[in-house]
């Protein structure tokens, strides 16, 4: 056994030596010689970057083949009419921006889905953020059983999946019985105009599902809260700040980075969760022969741009800070 291993390592050494000492490239400790001609000295910096790239090379390869290449191809698809025939494989017919024009002129379903998606995001993201922050603040008080409550609130993260959520919604288990009994939804529908009432009633009928989406955010906020130094609050209290004031002046500003991370996480999660109607729409159209791949590629690009814009707006809203006015003192 030992002999076999020694033999293998001998061969490996030979191969390694050949790879680093041949006519094409010759690598020694201090320099690289290309084609026996061009000398290149190896600096520590150069070595480090080669090693760094070696570590991430597998990701770079994956990025090029499974992200960048599909992205470019998808743009190409979106400006073509793609037909798949059994015998000849895939056929392309350049149609320019027809697919995109079609989306905005004829695909009423998509526009409607998109509208309700944007409405949902505008309503749900702040609610998820506020609820998870409130729960985190509750958990951050001096209480017993903190770990127990925390693990209950985190539990849904483990089990949410498209089919499971679907089953729950079909069973009306997505809402609290009390809400139905008190006829909250009917009251809202009667009191508000339709475009306002619809998202709000949706919200109530899916309140549990919305809560279920906030497990990760609660833990993020809790971690953030625990990093705030307690002495800051004491100092503020001595200066006469009420708890209300210290929430707005201390807690909220220090949580800003976490609000940002949570907002991005929430938006991406809502945008890619498999019960999302736009995603379903794109998938059904993929296998629809009359429109085909090209059209659904165009759809997904429109969707991507919308999501990116929402993310951009959210990041701007949260990260934007009024700079305090400071007087410049000329010295």
């Amino acid at each position: 056994m030992k002999k076999i291993l020694q033999f293998i390592s001998k061969i490996l050494k030979k191969v390694g030596h050949f790879l680093t000492h041949n006519w094409f490239i010759e690598i020694s400790n201090k320099e690289i010689i290309w084609f026996h001609k061009f000398h290149q000295t190896i600096t520590n910096r150069f070595r480090e970057s080669i090693q760094g790239y070696a570590f991430i090379s597998i990701w770079i390869f994956g990025f090029l083949t499974l992200t960048l290449y599909p992205l470019v191809t998808s743009i190409f698809y979106s400006i073509n009419k793609v037909t798949i025939t059994g015998g000849q494989g895939i056929q392309f017919e350049m149609v320019g921006f027809d697919n995109y024009v079609q989306i905005f002129t004829t695909d009423l379903d998509f526009m409607q889905y998109l509208q309700s998606f944007i409405g949902d995001i505008i309503l749900q993201v702040p609610i998820i953020l506020i609820i998870s922050m409130l729960i985190a603040i509750l958990l951050n008080q001096k209480i017993k059983l903190r770990g127990f409550f925390r693990s209950i609130y985190f539990l849904p993260v483990i089990i949410v999946s498209g089919p499971v959520i679907n089953e729950l919604l079909q069973q009306d288990a997505g809402s609290i019985p009390l809400i139905q009994e008190l006829a909250v939804i009917e009251t809202i529908e009667a009191a508000l105009p339709a475009f306002l009432a619809e998202p709000i009633t949706n919200l109530f009928s899916e309140i549990i599902i919305i809560l279920w989406f906030s497990g990760v955010q609660i833990v993020l906020f809790l971690a953030g809260l625990q990093k705030i130094d307690g002495e800051i609050y004491e100092a503020a209290q001595i200066d006469g700040a009420s708890p209300w004031e210290s929430f707005w002046k201390i807690t909220l500003p220090s949580l800003r980075p976490i609000i940002l991370v949570s907002a991005v996480y929430t938006i991406v999660m809502l945008a890619t969760f498999s019960t999302n109607s736009i995603i379903k729409h794109i998938q059904t159209l993929m296998f629809d022969t009359s429109r085909g791949y090209g059209y659904s590629a165009a759809l997904s690009w429109v969707y991507f741009i919308v999501v990116a814009m929402i993310l951009g707006i959210a990041v701007l809203l949260i990260a934007y800070q009024k700079k305090p006015k400071t007087k410049k003192v000329r010295g």
Binding site: I208, V219, L220, S274
Partner: protein, 311 residues
Amino acid sequence: MTQKLKLINKHSLRRKLFGYKLTDGLVFQIMIYVLLVTIGFVYVYPLLHMVSFSFQSLEDLLNPMVSQVPTTFYLQNYVDAFTVLKYFETMGSSLAVTLLPAIMQTLIASLVGYGFARFEFPLKKTLLALVVATYIIPPQVTMIPKYVLFFNIGILETVWSIILPATLGQGLNSAIFILIFYQFYKMIPKVLDEAAQIDGASRIYTYFKIAIPLSIPSFITSFLFSFVWYWNETYISTLFLGSGVETLQMRLADFVSEYSSILGSSQAINYANEAVRMAATMLIIAPMLIVYFIMQRWFIEGIDRAGITGE
């Protein structure tokens, strides 16, 4: 004298109830617990509903008096759900498209995270930004070309269509795991690496002998999350696995048609169907619940420790 005592008593009672500050009085404490328990109940309500529903026999379902707690411990729903899901057979393929990608994704994320954290190289900032970008791009955009690509190299409708992206660091939420490891390795002092190198260790050796042992907690957390997310993911797996590999989640998604084709349907059975579906849902989330209850602290403390929040 008694009057004075009364006054003191009254005073201390008030102090006890409302505390010296806002947050340490008894009333406040009780309020917090009430709130926490209420919210907790809302959180677990669907689960409780599911459990109680799944144990109800047909009589219980039809009986309006029985709304939550079943009268008998009725297991037939679970037996039915077992047969319709083909639980054990499907479990195998479900684990194959869950465990293997999770393992590969964790290993690769660690390698890539180490590369980003420990080395200085040109374009590092840009590449890191691209890592984050891969998280934001909706999978729908790249899905169709990937579908064609996988078809061309012949791995469509096999387990490899899920494992390959995970191995190349482009799996489900890979970016998050890379960032977790990146953050973690940045926190380990560089001195350790340098000491090893002075003793003659190569970079790879340092990674295996120093970085990996120190980052075992990150490995566990990443693996668990990866495992859970892959288990719950249905959109991409439905597309890439098609009819080739069937997972439990996919069988749950078309449970109704499967149910009538396997067990036949009549009016009464249709009614019981809902209870059976709840039982099936329970069966599918059961493995995750077990994992969660055993490894619970790794899930939650993992997020704390991952330092995503520290950016």
